[in-house]
């Protein structure tokens, strides 16, 4: 099989990957896998003080990436007002140790989303925030006390579509120069992933739900 990779994401001059272009992917499945594995993104935007790069929680629902926060947040106010942004999500999957210093690399999966956020209307906020909570802890949106009118009114929820997106992935072992292959140097990959540690209990009046009992594990790409 030598299928051409899917190219089902809209691209643009801005999202065409130039450096090491064979690592670029323009398909929706790659994008969704990268986004869905993330709890946090970095949002870059500019104001009169210059360029900023702010980490914030994120989640996907269908065709949009969502972020949220206090109405008082500078980033959310600017983004709600239509500021151009670049949202970046990165997973570091390993250190790639080559026989030559120059050919050392890292394995990663990254996504960049360009465009503008739009405001999620207050009437839709509760449902959209429930989706977020369910992704973090399935069932919890029916356990925790729901947001009341005052809490929802203090919260801004924004979403951005996948209209101008690029993803880039490096995986696999080192790419050494032919001349270096015989050198007596250890070569390979030191994998990196996510560790979920033992839950820290503050209160468990009805015992621990499944998402707590099953939390602890190692997640490698």
């Amino acid at each position: 099989m030598n299928e051409a990779p899917a190219r089902d994401l809209p691209s643009s001059e801005r999202t065409r990957v130039r450096r090491v272009a064979q690592r670029a992917h323009y398909d929706r499945a790659t994008l969704e896998a990268i986004v869905d594995a993330a709890h946090v993104c970095h949002v870059a935007f500019a104001d009169e003080q210059g360029v900023h790069c702010i980490p914030t929680a994120c989640w996907r629902d269908g065709d949009h990436l969502y972020i949220h926060g206090s109405n008082g947040s500078r980033m959310l106010k600017l983004a709600a007002a239509g500021a151009q942004v670049c949202v970046s999500i990165t997973h570091l999957d390993g250190l790639v140790l080559a026989r030559s210093a120059f050919n050392h690399s890292m394995n990663y999966r990254s996504a960049m989303i360009y465009g503008c956020f739009e405001v999620v209307p207050e009437a839709r906020q509760g449902a959209v925030l429930d989706v977020f909570l369910e992704q973090l802890a399935p069932g919890r949106s029916r356990e925790a006390r729901p947001g009341n009118a005052k809490e929802l009114a203090a919260t801004t929820v924004l979403r951005i579509g996948f209209d101008e997106v690029a993803t880039k992935v490096r995986q696999g072992g080192p790419k050494d120069d032919e001349d270096d292959l015989g050198l007596p140097v250890w070569a390979g990959v030191l994998p990196l992933g996510v560790a979920r540690g033992a839950p820290i209990v503050e209160a468990a009046p009805d015992g621990a739900p499944a998402y707590v009992r099953d939390w602890e594990r190692v997640v490698l790409a």
Copy 2:
């Protein structure tokens, strides 16, 4: 003991944390711990196409954060030419599950560095890149084939000082409203950290060095 926190980092109007300001730290030790735990940062900058947010490998040596890459990189070319940047480093340490949906949170450590990169002269590049390799794998700069003149000439190394920096840290358990403390809802923290997976060997002509043998482990904050 109720010592005032150290404030030994220069701050500015741009780096004064406004949202949840009690999470802000302006001391050098906090900054160094956040930077030294990271292999990757996000660099935000702007050009005629808008704002960009690019992940790249990073390391600290003394008073500077370093990045590097191919001379052909757009980001490195712009940064070398003096573009204003915001560099962001974020570690996600856990999901904080409160009794109310609204008070859910995340534990994290983050740093933002504003300013401009400067170019590391070619004569210093080899030494600076050795520091990077030593931090990833102690001893490896004496094992791997060093960069030759052609490889170093194709590489740009940049550094930025800690002149305009902010860090923000959230740790600990949920902060529930008094009225919610009696609700029958599990409350606590689901910790997140870094998992180092079993090394993937491509070649081990002389066996595995210590940084490979000792690699596999879980690192929690």
